[in-house]
Structures are given as C-alpha cells and as structure tokens.
Amino acid sequence: MKTVMARLAKRLVAGVIMILVVASFTFLLVRLMPGNPVEAKYQSLLLNGLTPVQAMDEVRVMYGFIPHQSLWIQYLHYLGQILHLNLGQSISYEGTPVMRIILGAAPWTIILVLTGTVASFIVGILAGVIAAIRRNSPVGSAITISGSVLHGIPLFVMALFLAYVFTTIWAVLPFGAPYNAALTPGFNGPFISSLARHALLPVFTYALASYGGWLLTMKSSVISVLGDDFILASEVRGLKTSTRVGYIAHNAILPLFTILALSLGFMFGGSLFIEDIFDYPGLGNLLVNAINNRDYPLMSGAFLLITVAVIASNIITDFLYSVVDPRIRR
C-alpha cells in the first residue's frame, strides 16, 4: 500500500508539472497571436473616452494583467491567478469570470458525453466479446458489420438523421434546447423528466457513434487473447464456459481502460456537433464561440480545463491499472 501511495504521489507531482507546462504554453500562445486583443481593447476604451488610467484599470480587471508589464511579470501574475482558480474574465460575455462560464457549461457536456460514453462502452464491450467468440457465425458477422457501419457514419450525419426520424417523421422526442424552457430548473419531477427526454436523442446519437469503436477494439483484443495458450489450457482442464469467458473478457478489457480514460478526459473538450445540432450550451459550443469571438481568456481557460481533465484521467487510469492488473502492481 505504501508503494502505491508513493507511486500516486509521484504521478500527482508529474501531473502538476505537466499542467504548469501546458498553462505556460497557452499563456505564450495567446501573447504570440497576431492582433494583440489586449492592446485593441485598451485602445478602444481610450477611444470611448476613458482616461489612460481608467482604461488600464478596466483592461486589468478584464484580462487579469497589465499589458505594459514585462512578459515575465505577466507570466508570474498569470500563474498566481491560476493557483487561485482565477482564469480571468471573458471578453465576449463581458465581465463574467471565465471560471463561472466554464462551470456553467460543463454539466451539459458531462450529462451528454459521460452517459453516452459509459453506455456505448458497456454495450460495445459486450457486443465485442460476442462478435469475437462467434466470429465465424452470422450473428458475429452481423455484430461486426453493425460496428463498422456505425463507426463509419459521421457524428453530425447520425445526429441529423436521428433528429429527422424521431422529431419529424415520428415526432416522439423534443428537438433542440436541453429542457423545456417553460419549466423552472430545479430538483423537481417535471423538470428532470423534461431534461431526460431532451437528453435522450443526443445521448443516443453519441452512444451510437462511439459504440462501433469500442466494439471493434474489444473484438480484436478478445481475438488476440483467444489465441493465448492459457485459454487453450483452460479448455483442456475442462473449465466451465462461463469461467473461460470471464478469463477472456478480463484479459481483453485491460487495454481498453486506457482508451476509456482518455476519452473521458477529452470529454471536457465537448462534443461540438451534437451540442450544436441539439442546441446544448455545453463546452464544445462554448469553445467554438470563444474562438469565433477571439475571446482569449475563455479559450485558454477551456484549453486548460481539457489539459487538467486529460492529465487527471491519466493518473486515475494508472492508478486503476495497478488495481486490475497484478503485473503492474509493485
């Protein structure tokens, strides 16, 4: 247990360093971008009739730093603000702290992508095991083909198709907006059921689009495990089929954990197409708006969030690996 803790601590330190590197990189990137948005804002404030001191104060509040300070001082200031979880203020949503905007958008993305990923992971894995074990039968081929086809359809095509089928031809589900605007948000029955009904289509789309990837990866992993000697040995020893399938699935699923963790990390990048088509105010939409509006503080905040999420999920996978795979436990 002590070694596990030491390992975890080492991982955490490495993670913090990685986050710092990425934060520094985003800091520099924003400053290297052509057009100098800070200067532009400062100038436009001057033109609006503010005095240089007022304009500078305004810019400082907005961006969290003073444009005429040296890059080094700005950098230290920026890092200090990050440590206080202050990511500055948005330009497009004037005066709103970036942190608050991101926290407001994150739940919508998490509802969509997390549910979609977990659902497609579970179904895809199970189907992958069946497709691999019955790969010479029509059932196995049908499952594999379903995976390839669904994997091949672009997300936005799938989204539009499903939206067309279920909201136009057979209008059983609502389209657009995350919930019925007539209801008051809160922990009450009508609101939650409206939330669920609205989420059904986008979650289903997301799950359907990622199901193929899980299925095909799991299938090839299972097939490679099936060729392992210990599987033949377990047959020769007369182990029950259920026990053998358990052996196979346990060994085959390990490589997929990494992919799952990474995709959960990238979840914080949002799923642009789905959020756009189904009109969800999630992180994907947020990021695109930030880019369109040259909202640099919001952009760097969103990038930083993705970085932290990916690094954190990596650390968690690493930790989980040492629980599920005894060969790594030491």
């Binding site: 020893r237 005894p326 060969r327």
Partner: protein, 334 residues
C-alpha cells in the same frame, strides 16, 4: 499389478483410438496431421509418443481430448475411454467434465498455461468449481501437497501470479493442474522440454513416482529418445501423421525395425565422441506434397525404399509379440 496387465494383452486399454483422422485447413487445402491412427494405450503403463516436429504427436494427444484447436478439425475416428465413452461423439458437457477429471493434459506451452490475472490458488478454485468439487478447502490442500512434492514452496506458489514464477515453476504448476483432480490418464506433451537437464530429471522422477503410486496411465509426448528410453514401457513412433512403429520401448529402441525409427536413433548425438557420429536424416519432414502421394510417407527419405513403396501405403502389421510396424521391408516376407 496382475499378470494380465504385465502382459498387456487381455486388459482393457485405457484409451482405444480407432481410425482417427485430423486435418488442418490451409490455403492449399486440407493438410492431414493425423492419418488413420489406430492405437491402444495400455492402462497403468507409460507410453512414449515420439517423432519429429510436425509428425502429429501433439495433434494426436489434443484429439484424445477432442480439443484440437482451429484450423484443425477431427474428420473421423473414435477415442474410447472406459467410463467416459467416445470423446469424439459424447455431448460437449460430458467432454468438458472428462477433461481435467479423467484425462489430465500438461500442455506443450505449459509455462503460459495460467491466467496472468489470477492467483494460482484462485485458479485451482476455479477448476474445482468447474468440476463440482464439494470440498474446495481439501482441493487446496491437495494442490499444496502436490506442489510440495514437485519441490516448491506451496504457500508462496498458491498466492502468486504467473509472472512471479520462473519458467520451470510454471511448468510444475501445469503438472499440478493435470493431477489435482485425480485424473487416471495423464498426458505430458513435451512437458519437460523447456526445463534444464537437472530440473527435467527431477520432474520426470516425480512423474514416475506419482505414476506408480496412483496407478496412472501416462502418455509422454517427446522428441527426446533419452526420455523415452528412461521412462516409457511402450513407445509409439509417428511420422507424417501415421504410426510407423510401436512396441515395448526396450525392444523397439534396441532393435528398431522401421527405417525411420532407425534413422531417429542414429541421429542422437552422444555425450562423448565426435558430433558427426550422429547422422541426421536426409531430406525434409513430410509436407502437403508427401500426403498427396499414394505411397509410403517416408519414401522420399528412406534408404531402403523399394519400387513398391512409391505406389502403395504400407499398413501397420504385427511383426512379433506386441510389436507393430508399417513398412513393406519388414512386413513382407517373400
């Protein structure tokens, strides 16, 4: 041991193989791996099966369990095991129950025969549950006894994962798995090949002890003549998927009748003396082309080949007490 068993004639064989044919599906067509094999494995004896790589030894023993892996396929034949029935025609559940419980196999790649993600002890329990063993605690005790017999620290092994054991230890664990359910028929397929000479000798010694103690029927698959000479009561020589010679090991090894058996024995290097005193067999082992020929599969490499051998396949005939040979030169008396 009764007099009947000593003579090995009237006693019921532990395994009776008849007309066994196994093929491997390849891109060039079906490649026969075991051809028309008839074989009686005598009860409570050690039978050695010997032959070059690719001669069909391993396929034959896998077919005894009806566990020939794809792309292999058993085309015809029967494998009668007393108390079980024909392994090739009973239903799958009964086949499964017979594997491990009646027929224990230590598999060629026994070092990799364990699930890398479960402790050995857990795998023993999995085995027990699969075979409806009531007293799992007792099963673990048996496992522990066997492991101790095999010269290992049983407690450590049972709580270990595969990667924590050396190759030799894994091999012994494989042997433990074949014996733990008290299978009466134990098959060791190259089970000691990966071990160094000293471990091999000690493991074989333990196998011999257990064989006697438990009255087992043991089948040793090997390409090591020394192991056969040392251990086996009977020897079966395979070439190109066929049994070319069989008989009591002493008489077969001292007076080999089939040119292939003679060649095999000549090819053994001696510990002392020049290495070139060992004469390799000329030519290459049987391949798909050989099988398409109507004649003897050994024809191409045989020094004593006659014109008849090219056109006809020799059948296995009893030549003297208890010895069978498939060779015209031996069986034809003109």
């Amino acid at each position: 041991m009764s007099a009947e068993l000593m003579h090995g004639k009237s006693a019921e064989p532990a395994v009776r193989v008849r007309g066994l044919n196994v093929v491997y599906a390849t891109s060039q067509g079906d490649l026969p791996a075991v051809r028309d094999v008839d074989l009686d494995i005598e009860a409570e004896k050690i039978t050695g099966i010997i032959g070059e790589s690719g001669s069909g030894k391993s396929t034959l023993v896998m077919a005894l369990l009806n566990s020939v892996g794809k792309p292999g396929k058993i085309v015809s034949g029967s494998v009668m095991v007393p108390g079980v029935g024909d392994m090739l025609s009973i239903d799958r559940e009964r086949q499964r129950r017979a594997r491990g419980k009646e027929l224990g196999l230590v598999f060629q790649a026994a070092q990799n025969s364990l699930n890398p993600l479960r402790r050995i002890g857990h795998q023993v329990l999995d085995l027990g549950r699969s075979h409806e063993v009531r007293d799992l605690r007792d099963l673990l005790r048996k496992a522990s006894d066997l492991l101790t017999r095999l010269g290992m620290d049983a407690d450590r092994v049972l709580t270990s994962y595969q990667h924590e054991l050396s190759g030799g230890m894994r091999q012994r664990v494989g042997i433990m798995f074949a014996l733990i359910l008290d299978a009466k028929i134990v098959i060791l397929d190259e089970a000691t090949t990966a071990l160094d000479m000293l471990s091999q000798a000690s493991v074989l010694e333990i196998v011999r002890e257990l064989h006697k103690e438990r009255g087992l029927t043991t089948i040793l698959v090997t390409h090591d003549m020394g192991v056969v000479a040392d251990m086996a009561d009977r020897v079966v020589v395979m070439y190109g998927g066929e049994i070319v010679e069989e008989g009591p090991s002493g008489s077969v090894l001292s007076h080999p009748a089939h040119p292939y058996t003679q060649g095999l024995i000549r090819a053994i290097p001696r510990i002392s003396g020049a290495i070139d005193r060992a004469v390799p067999l000329p030519g290459a082992p049987a391949d798909l082309k050989t099988y398409l020929e109507p004649g003897c599969p050994f024809y191409q490499r045989c020094a004593a080949a006659m014109p008849k051998c090219q056109a006809n396949r020799p059948t296995s005939l009893t030549v003297s007490a208890d010895r069978k040979v498939a060779c015209f030169k031996v069986t034809d008396h003109d």
